[in-house]
Symmetry: C2
Subunit: 411 residues, 2 copies
Amino acid sequence: MTSHDPDERVAGPAPAPPGDATPATSPRAAAPAPAPPGGGAGLPALRGHNAALMLGLLRAAGPAGVSRLELAAHTGLTPQAVSKILARLRVDGLVAEAGRRASTGGKPPTVLRLVPEARYAIGLHLDRDELTAVLTDLAGRTVAARTAPLDLGAGASAVLDTVAGQLAALPDEARSSRVLGVGAACPGPLDHTAGVLRRVTGFPDWDGFPLRDALAERLGLPVVLDKDTNAAALGLARRAPDGRGSFAYLHLGTGLGAGLVLGGVLYRGARTGAGEFGHQVLQLDGPRCGCGKRGCVEALCLDRAARGEPAEAARILGVAAANLVELLDIDRVLLGGRTVLARSDTYVRGVAGALAEQARIRGDGGTSAIPVAVAEGGAQAVADGAAHLVLAPLFGAPGTPFGGGGAAEPR
Amino acid sequence: MTSHDPDERVAGPAPAPPGDATPATSPRAAAPAPAPPGGGAGLPALRGHNAALMLGLLRAAGPAGVSRLELAAHTGLTPQAVSKILARLRVDGLVAEAGRRASTGGKPPTVLRLVPEARYAIGLHLDRDELTAVLTDLAGRTVAARTAPLDLGAGASAVLDTVAGQLAALPDEARSSRVLGVGAACPGPLDHTAGVLRRVTGFPDWDGFPLRDALAERLGLPVVLDKDTNAAALGLARRAPDGRGSFAYLHLGTGLGAGLVLGGVLYRGARTGAGEFGHQVLQLDGPRCGCGKRGCVEALCLDRAARGEPAEAARILGVAAANLVELLDIDRVLLGGRTVLARSDTYVRGVAGALAEQARIRGDGGTSAIPVAVAEGGAQAVADGAAHLVLAPLFGAPGTPFGGGGAAEPR
DNA sequence: GCACTTTGGCAACAGCGTTGCTTAAGTGGA
DNA sequence: TCCACTTAAGCAACGCTGTTGCCAAAGTGC
């Protein structure tokens, strides 16, 4: 079965066809209420919240797993409650027992871990000249990845064809019913909520195109659309040790953008346009930038880089990063993008220098220098992160409001 | 001093800072659960969440009130559930019926409203040379306000004496058991979580002083400590029509600071140091600022203001504000502080001009110019907002995590 | 081999919002 | 005047949540 039923509606949790007896997994409810935003919560929301929390802790534990009592301690829930919740997750196939740990003077604890192959997500990175598609499992591991040339200027139909072709070439799991959906990352600006592209620099024809719905219809899967920098930041957030940190991912390629993770949660802003970092004015009445303003970081930075002065470019980026750190009080800065990767040491050193200088001036002792590093993941980072646009709702982000996805039933 | 028994436990949910999930324990032990951060939720949390949500909607409705069915529609809860929740709140004395509205073809709806005098909070603004204390009721109205000279340099004991004296001069309600706590706002930087002051500019002796606990012990009430700009922003957030907006409050007085409300929630940052807006570098290698860096907005702005060029100062502030708007995608900018208020028209025009220019360049149509206004509340805005540091947890912020205060029992 | 510790499940329970139905209190047409 | 209809709100029973109390399982250590 290579193609999904084209008539299938994707948006809502479509009520399962009566004749189609879904296997073991228990379809709990047909999502009764559209839940007005900011709404009240009932028992289903409570269950979803705790289930998501537990899945998040299990994912953080990795292959090593966690014991029930450890989960109880981390969540503040009763061991008995943890047992019940885990029982539900085990029935759904998301969690499994994985042996026992050594005793500490009593009955040895049973170790639990995620079942990575229980669910999958597809991540797409639609760049200006290249398409990357990855298949990611529940644990966040990249199962498969493909890259193909792409011409964003070739029109919607051609782009959709390319995407469909690449997905068809992914392993069979990519077409199983265990795929939760597709995360698509594009150059901004775009409207995440509506799933519509805006004026992608250099490709004005895409302005207003409902890419999310077009992809959803073509692929027969739910689709989430977001900016490439946001996707990358989301992917990096998963790698954070505590899962609650705040950081900025600064992407310096042909342009300069940022993805902000504040308190462990991707920050998108009121109109999902946050992170437009490139056109922060850093030099009052400075040289005119392509955007029409004067003294934008992007222009200053890329100019120095083009002139073969990467150290100076890095210093400028560092000043902008220091602004960011002061304003948002984040605890980490990650760098990425082609321009950075070409001279990563220089850029890390330049930005770290600016931040160290600032820490020295503030001299807070406690708030010593903010660490700077090159973002892991390399060229695939955006596509990887795009998959997490779909996976993330399953896992309880540290301070998420009610009703994190919970044990999402596939399709 | 007052009639408070110093050993008495101030029961009920300790006022948690809005926006983050830290339980912010009162000096004494909290009764139920220490609730590990980001923890799981049970039925009490569910109840608290919905109660807080309801209180938030009731507050937003103001004296006009709301009907049960309207609350049901806004929350997504069943009318029956709304009835039950309101019954509990009425028993607690927080909510009361207030007549009926005209019929629309059936039984006329009963109107419900907050009982403003059911709870109170005290707001303190400890400025460098002045102390303002206000008594605020549940509806957010300022019941009483007092201002007295203060010398922050006179030492902790003298400052505490002054505070206690001012509180003693507030109306009797300020000493009733219905007072939930005290919100204290100071010039930054400080550590909101620990309740400890940092290097207040000009008063280095305060560095490391545990003001929150000192005030709590002296006054026998729970205390929440925060930066003056944060308090002001929180107070302004309550005035927002939708309650979910994002805005920045820019305070230009003897210094320049910002309070950020993102998605209806006060954003404090990882180490509660967010909003350090004054030392954003706006002119690469510009004139040296008192802070040690070069080209900070604060230095540029105040220099122009001192030179009698308010229009130029406003333009510079506008460029910095435009940076903020682009980075965080907020939908409103509010101005305040002595320097602004002295020439408010000039500053509003200057900042609005910069934002309009940016909107023109982006030319998004939808995202037309971000509105700019002078913050309401005047000199009392900070003290008013400080009271909301205590009140806010009672009301469900739009997207708050679990366990918003709920119906706090006094004593 | 026995006391002890640690782990984890079973059963009963209190409390949450939901469902189904009834009562209250209006409007409006015959 | 009466009766059908609409809207509002409460009562009772219910399903499901995490919690509590208790007990069985499975180790360690003397």
